[in-house]
């Protein structure tokens, strides 16, 4: 049986357009994002990758000039019609630069559960341990949970941010170039982690690194100038792209 047709879509985007004032940043985007897979978003700088993943958790609305048209359904429901806080609880995000809060490691992880009303110490202790283990950081920090998170290395901070996102048990994790500020070793760790995470989470990751996209993703979407040029299984797209522009980009002819 064909594996791909078994998968449900977690997001289904139809004819979606987005403008920053006059700048038309996303043009007629239609895409079905499968559940519990890793989808890589690639494309040259300024093509709208960050804009796209920020629309998925409505963070893009923080820019006052943004206007949109078209629909995005998350698990069958229009994201415009869900409460933004509950959408963002189900859809976690990891940013390009690690952005831990200026608090202890423990409080960073506990922040999400706490704002959603989980206060008892025992549950929080469990969540902290589970999330840090899930982000492959537990062994490194278990003896210093009360130290400030700024004392961690960049790679550890980024895994802390992943753990922080895991702590509210999301369905989807959005990652915007999560390894671009990291050294190769930390990058490898985060990549391994993503591989591990896709068992339980749907992951959408923006990357500038073609090898990374090839290594970690099941599907890849190629963006160019605010449009999706091609969206297919990563293997197929890398070996046998349908569009010449995809081929040119992957083989490094531009971008």
């Amino acid at each position: 049986m064909n594996k791909e047709e078994n998968k449900q879509s977690v997001y289904s985007v139809k004819d979606f357009n987005l403008w920053y004032g006059e700048t038309h940043a996303l043009k007629d985007i239609s895409i079905e994002i499968p559940e519990k897979e890793v989808v890589a978003i690639i494309g040259p700088s300024g093509c709208g990758k960050s804009t796209f993943i920020k629309t998925l958790n409505r963070m893009v609305e923080l820019v006052p000039s943004v206007k949109t048209k078209g629909s995005i359904n998350y698990e069958g429901k229009d994201i415009k019609k869900t409460k933004v806080e509950s959408l963002r609880t189900e859809v976690g995000m990891v940013f390009q630069k690690p952005n831990p809060f200026p608090k202890s490691i423990y409080d960073n992880i506990a922040y999400g559960p706490r704002i959603h009303g989980i206060k008892d110490k025992k549950t929080l202790d469990e969540v902290v341990e589970k999330s840090l283990k899930g982000a492959a950081l537990w062994e490194e920090v278990k003896d210093r949970l009360n130290e400030n998170a700024f004392g961690l290395s960049g790679g550890q901070q980024q895994r802390l941010c992943i753990a922080r996102a895991l702590a509210v048990e999301p369905e989807v994790i959005l990652m915007d170039e999560p390894t671009s500020a990291l050294d190769p070793l930390s990058t490898a760790k985060v990549e391994d982690l993503i591989h591990e995470l896709k068992k339980n989470y749907s992951i959408i990751i923006v990357t500038h690194n073609m090898q990374q996209a090839a290594r970690i993703s099941d599907k890849t979407a190629f963006f160019l100038d605010g449009e999706i040029i091609e969206f297919d299984a990563t293997e197929k797209m890398y070996s046998n792209p349908r569009d010449k522009r995809t081929d040119d980009y992957i083989s490094g002819k531009f971008g």
């Binding site: 006052p64 976690g92 940013f95 952005n99 831990p100 200026p102 999400g112 996102a165």
Partner: protein, 309 residues
């Protein structure tokens, strides 16, 4: 023929020897100016100190710092216990802070977290203008507007009382607290807010649990500076608080602060060299020590506890 840039620079260099002299003299001038301001300050503190010492040759130091009665004008039997003036000063400061902290911080949160760019651009300068209104105007405002208004709620409130000038001193320091706190909040990086929002936090949660803790040192030092101004405020209390040195926290009665005592004596006819004359220096010294402590504290807090991102 046109000289090349390099040649022209060379030519100009030789002309610059006169400039060299200026280059050497100017640092001295700057140093001199800086020294003058420091020397003047030192001079003031020295005078204050010398006259204070003279005061304590008339009145016992112990009586001054432990006494609970301040009756300098009791001809034969004056008493110089500082506590009534201290309690008057702190009554005003406490009322002022009760007004200024909630309003100033709420305004700062609005400006930093909620206001659109357009509203912020309008409101910030308005705050700065408010901070520049002469305090005598605030004093009149307290006496002729706030006191009568309060009297409609508290019918037996006397014309001179602590409540009205306390509130108005609070109003006076709101702009400073709002403006300094807003700057501290602005320094919290957007990425912190994004991190919390992406976890499903509301904007209010972001403001209260990320922005305020993240700018705590700046907020506290703005409050301490505000408190220091409230303690040193003179015109408003002289105009509207009366001149009755009462010990205790009684907002509905006339009180006297350290500053308004100094004004009262300076405007009256205390003879040069009398105990009353020297007493204003002792009170001034006390006031100076308080505001100095506050300012050092504010500095210390903002340096020691500054969040680094």
């Amino acid at each position: 023929m046109k000289a090349t840039i390099r040649e022209r620079i060379k030519q100009n260099k030789s002309k610059r020897s006169s400039q060299n002299k200026i280059e050497k003299i100017m640092p001295m001038v700057f140093l001199l100016m800086a020294s003058i301001s420091i020397l003047v300050t030192a001079g003031i503190v020295f005078t204050l100190f010398r006259e204070t010492v003279l005061f304590f040759s008339h009145v016992s130091f112990i009586n001054f710092i432990t006494g609970t009665e301040w009756y300098p004008f009791f001809g034969n039997d004056p008493s110089y216990g500082i506590w009534p003036l201290l309690s008057g000063t702190f009554t005003i400061a406490a009322i002022a802070m009760m007004v200024a902290i909630p309003i100033g911080l709420a305004a700062a949160i609005y400006l930093s977290e909620y206001a659109s760019d357009r509203n912020r651009k309008v409101l910030k300068p308005v705050l700065e203008v408010l901070a520049g209104v002469p305090t005598v105007v605030y004093g009149l405002f307290a006496l002729t507007f706030v006191t009568p208004l309060l009297q409609t709620f508290i019918p037996d409130l006397p014309i001179f009382n602590a409540l009205s000038p306390g509130i108005v001193v609070g109003i006076m320091i709101i702009p400073q607290i709002a403006s300094l706190s807003q700057e501290a909040m602005n320094a919290v990086p957007q990425s912190m807010r994004d991190g919390a929002l992406a976890l499903g936090a509301t904007r209010l949660e972001v403001a209260l649990k990320i922005v305020i803790p993240g700018s705590f040192s700046g907020i506290v030092s703005s409050l301490v500076l505000g408190l220091s101004r409230a303690i040193g405020e003179t015109m408003i209390v002289s105009t509207a608080a009366g001149s009755t040195p009462n010990l205790g926290f009684t907002p509905t009665e006339s009180i006297q602060t350290m500053t308004s005592y100094i004004v009262q004596v300076s405007m009256g006819d205390a003879t040069f060299g009398s105990t009353i004359y020297y007493s204003i220096y002792a009170v001034g010294m006390t006031l100076f020590l308080f505001t100095l402590t506050m300012n050092i504290l504010a500095n210390h807090i903002s340096r020691r506890y500054r969040e680094v991102y």
